[in-house]
């Protein structure tokens, strides 16, 4: 099966109300061309799961600035003033999650786990409404998995099977998000026939569709 699709074909998958995980950290390792396609499609009421709110003109920040996002689940929104503004006016719901908790919730979502107990957030606003369990004398919060309709990744090298590598600090949330969505799309900076099986970050079975980056 050929996994390569065009950017127009990617747009045909989009619809209102989707939950979408987007790889990247301060927009480093974010598939910008897929984000641009979502902006052009103008689908609405999206739930975006990403480390941060990006910038107004970079990363998922572009979707927020274009009023396409209903809810954002992120650890940090400080570099995108539009996110704070829309949260203040009630137009954007934001769930702030400690970064380590967010990545682990995604890992649980992709790894068949029902949740996990973490000491992070004990004694803070983060614990509100959550089960607290004391194990070996330490208090932990129960945190639940995150799963999404789509995951959008940025691969620095992707082979024709879908095997993916993320160079340097582009990796961040990408390989974990690859495991936690119904459909996984990767923007390929470089598309090759084959990658050495020893150095692959994401095995091909996780990747549904490859979109070659337009240089």
């Amino acid at each position: 099966m050929d996994k390569v699709i065009s950017i127009d074909n990617f747009k045909e998958h989009l619809k209102d109300g989707l939950s979408i995980m987007v790889g990247g950290f301060m927009a480093v390792g974010t598939p910008e061309q897929l984000i641009d396609a979502i902006v052009e499609s103008n689908v609405k009421n999206l739930t975006i799961i990403c480390n941060d709110a990006g910038f107004i003109d970079k990363g998922v920040g572009k979707l927020i600035a274009n009023n396409q996002v209903k809810k954002l689940i992120a650890s940090h929104i400080g570099l995108n003033p539009k996110a704070g503004e829309l949260m203040g006016s009630g137009e954007l719901e934001i769930e702030l999650v400690p970064q380590g908790t967010q990545i682990e919730r995604i890992r649980c979502g992709g790894n068949g786990l029902g949740g996990f107990y973490t000491p992070t957030g004990i004694g803070t606003m983060v614990e509100e409404g959550k089960e607290i369990k004391t194990l070996n004398g330490i208090d932990y919060l129960l945190e639940l998995p995150l799963h999404a309709d789509f995951a959008l990744l940025y691969g620095s090298t992707v082979d024709k099977h879908g095997n993916t590598m993320y160079t340097k600090t582009l990796r961040n949330f990408n390989p974990v998000m690859a495991t936690a969505a119904d459909k996984v799309f990767v923007q390929a900076r470089e598309y090759v026939n084959e990658i050495d099986p020893d150095i692959i970050h994401t095995p091909h079975i996780f990747i549904d569709h490859i979109i070659k980056e337009v240089k």
Binding site: F25, G78, G100, T101, R171, N172, F173, P175, V176
Partner: protein, 217 residues
């Protein structure tokens, strides 16, 4: 001291708390400057929570690689022996107790070792990023900050802002003093010679125990 001298003084004093071989996470802003004062004969493994250990010097203008960034999204370099990893491994390192020292700023710190750094309700909501995990998981937590904010105290008996974590801070280093958090409160251990004991006490809204006070390093 002007603003830059204050920052440099604090960063330099923090650097004296590091030991050869330590894995250290430096927060954005002032804490990042600590890297400038690490003795050259000492190996410190700087961790950046976006996914690397072996953070190097800031790149020169022509050496910027946009694929290598720190947790603030700024371009950085990686030292020989450095390593990249994903966010799950990164926070496994952090929560799992594999970071020896974390250095970060705060809006407020209190005598119980609690800190507030991620939200001023109704005013500013940047989010906690990785700070909550870092202060809970690191073996030693050092707050590096100016002693006051426009003359108003930042060190209290109890924080009034929403907490980043409860009772996790080990040490507070400011341009005026060094304080250590113990079970029964805050101990003033050093005073910058440019300030008097009275000035430090007046700039602090928590009781300071002076029984461990010694000469500044």
């Amino acid at each position: 001291m002007d603003k830059n001298e204050i920052k440099a003084y604090i960063a330099k004093r923090v650097s004296l708390e590091l030991h050869d071989g330590d894995v250290v996470n430096l927060g954005i802003g002032l804490p990042t400057m600590v890297a400038n004062y690490i003795p050259t004969d000492m190996t410190i493994h700087l961790q950046s929570e976006n996914g690397l250990i072996g953070l190097g010097q800031a790149p020169g203008e022509n050496e910027v690689d946009p694929d290598i960034t720190n947790a603030g999204g700024q371009p950085v370099t990686i030292v020989e022996g450095g390593v990249y990893f994903d966010s799950s491994t990164s926070f496994g390192i952090i929560r799992g107790g594999h970071v020896d020292v974390t250095v970060l700023g705060a809006l407020q710190v209190d005598a119980k070792g609690s800190l507030a750094s991620w939200i001023i309700p109704g005013k500013m909501v940047p989010g906690m990023g990785g700070a909550m995990d870092l202060v809970v998981g690191s073996k030693k937590v050092i707050i590096a900050m100016t002693h006051t904010n426009k003359g108003k105290p930042k060190i209290f008996e109890d924080c009034s802002l929403p907490l980043t974590a409860k009772s996790q801070v080990d040490m507070i280093i400011t341009e005026m003093a060094v304080m250590v958090v113990k079970e029964d409160g805050l101990y003033l251990t050093e005073i910058n010679k440019e300030f008097s004991l009275e000035e430090v006490i007046n700039a602090t809204a928590a009781k300071l125990n002076t029984s461990l006070l010694k000469e500044a390093k």
